[in-house]
Subunit: 319 residues, 2 copies
């Protein structure tokens, strides 16, 4: 469930554009106006604002944003505003530029591959073509190697079946295959990767349940034997995103704000990509796991317009 | 270019349905009527016939066809009539049933993956979901193993960029990678597979041209070192389908009719899948390579209603 609020009566798009234009003209910038408009419009409405703005003022709406805003606030607004497929194409393309750590890059690709619907993932691939004149899997295959490539390329290329049908014979046989490969520490085995990258989420849930029932503990526990192994961490995260994304995202948020300093990169990405999807469940999971509301941690770790933007997206006023 | 003729004035679809109904009712079957209607309607018109027939007579048009026709003629009509995406989904699903040889099955999958447009291949995957409640890549991954799986799964999962842009730096570097892997006989190397399964056709053409210019002979010649190796044969066929499908299809047709006996399976598949696409180039290539028109060989090797159907699809009357 989405967390940010869209007013029942939204103003005409031309009026939004005029207010945004005014907020970015002349001396200073009216950040509050920008936040209050953009964080209360859904994806379709934001796309319409961007389109109308370009028609009305002859420039991409992102240009004055980039001139007037900066830092984490700018990044949050630039990632929030586009259509989710465009945003994912931007995020996926960024990771090929290797600005961040390999672990971060792999997680971003995996999130896009595993937590979007099959149709949404395909739309990202279409958008990627139009924007970068290459394919998503082409760039990911080119910029990754070894086991990471072996897992990530089929993950982003798959078009998973989304019906609820489950084949219990398959679930039984594949739970055994998974157990066998994991017990042999063959975490990069073709069969393990085939199962994770091609089976439907419903089928995987059934297979993992058989695994749990038969071997007495969840599959992901068996994948924790080398806690610091980066590839194994990615496999665990994949399993979690395919079956209970709210738990994965809760942990991502927790780690982004843990201890001293904040990984704004992750905090922004999780909030903007999930606000319109399942942020409510993620917040419930956060409260459950940390005995503290997410909002409280966001308030402790961030400030200013960036804080105000995040709070509006998780459905809280900044007051 | 398509080969079969669609009349400038086609009768109303209800009239086509009535003629088809009549052709299949009572004593005997009017095969000529069935052939003359179906082989002169394009994909959209045939879909409309099937839909209208079902609405009008309360049964799938394929049911009376299956009751009244038989053998290669029936198979040709059943494969010709559906929308190309549905036909490809049917063909791809058949190969998972292992009725034919593994070599045949691998070629069918490769053809669908490499000679359709990216959008068409995606439509096959959508149709596969709807029809079989699983994904195309899921079934192919499950029913193949080893190197064949390693090549075929990314081939059917890819959504290749289709623009004409070419990066000559990439072409140079990847021509060298290919040469290196081929000279090491590492035909199943990750890099070779990455290049073949993710790069656009325009980029691959440029890379193969660099290969030819730099090493003095075409890449496919270097892939012929073990002519009977089935996997290597599949790699060669993949390269050919990605760059000059008419040569691949010419050879498939030639082999299907060579010597005693005919592989109707292949003959039918090539004619029905290409008649609406590039059959004209394939026929020109056939004449060039065999100094005999394709039509003449089809007439020598087949007969009756099956012959009449094939001839109509390649644009020749059976008289």
């Amino acid at each position: 469930m989405a967390t940010f609020a869209v007013p029942q009566q939204i103003p005409p798009v031309a009026e939004d554009c005029e207010r945004l234009r005014k907020a970015m003209q002349g001396w200073g910038t009216d950040e509050n106006a920008i936040i209050s408009i953009l964080t209360h419009r859904n994806a379709r409405q934001r796309c319409l604002i961007r389109q109308t703005y370009a028609e009305k003022y002859g420039e991409d709406f992102f240009k004055p944003l980039q001139d007037e805003l900066s830092g984490d606030f700018l990044r949050a607004v630039l990632l929030w505003t586009p259509h989710p497929a465009e945003r994912d194409a931007l995020l996926a393309n960024e990771v090929t530029k290797k600005k961040h750590s390999a672990a971060h890059n792999h997680l971003v690709i995996m999130e896009i591959a595993c937590t979007r619907t099959s149709r949404e993932l395909f739309q990202v691939r279409e958008d990627y073509h139009a924007r970068y004149k290459r394919s998503l899997e082409e760039d990911i295959a080119y910029h990754t190697t070894g086991d990471f490539r072996k897992l990530l390329v089929p993950l982003v290329s798959t078009y998973r079946y989304e019906g609820g049908e489950v084949d219990m014979t398959v679930a039984n046989s594949e739970a055994n295959i998974l157990q066998e490969k994991i017990s042999e520490k063959a975490y990069n085995h073709d069969e393990l990767i085939r199962i994770l990258t091609t089976r439907s989420k419903a089928q995987l849930n059934a297979t993992f349940k058989v695994y749990n029932d038969q071997f007495g503990h969840p599959l992901n526990k068996d994948l924790k034997k080398k806690p610091k192994d980066e590839y194994l961490g990615l496999v665990r995260a994949t399993v979690q995103c395919l079956t209970c994304p709210e738990k994965y995202y809760e942990k991502a948020l927790r780690l982004s704000m843990k201890g001293l300093g904040t990984t704004e990169e992750t905090l922004t990405r999780v909030v903007v990509t999930r606000a319109e999807v399942d942020m409510k469940s993620i917040m419930e999971q956060y409260q459950l796991k940390n005995s503290v509301p997410l909002v409280q941690d966001i308030k402790s770790d961030t400030s200013g317009d960036y804080l105000a933007t995040l709070l509006a997206l998780v459905g809280q006023s900044s007051s």
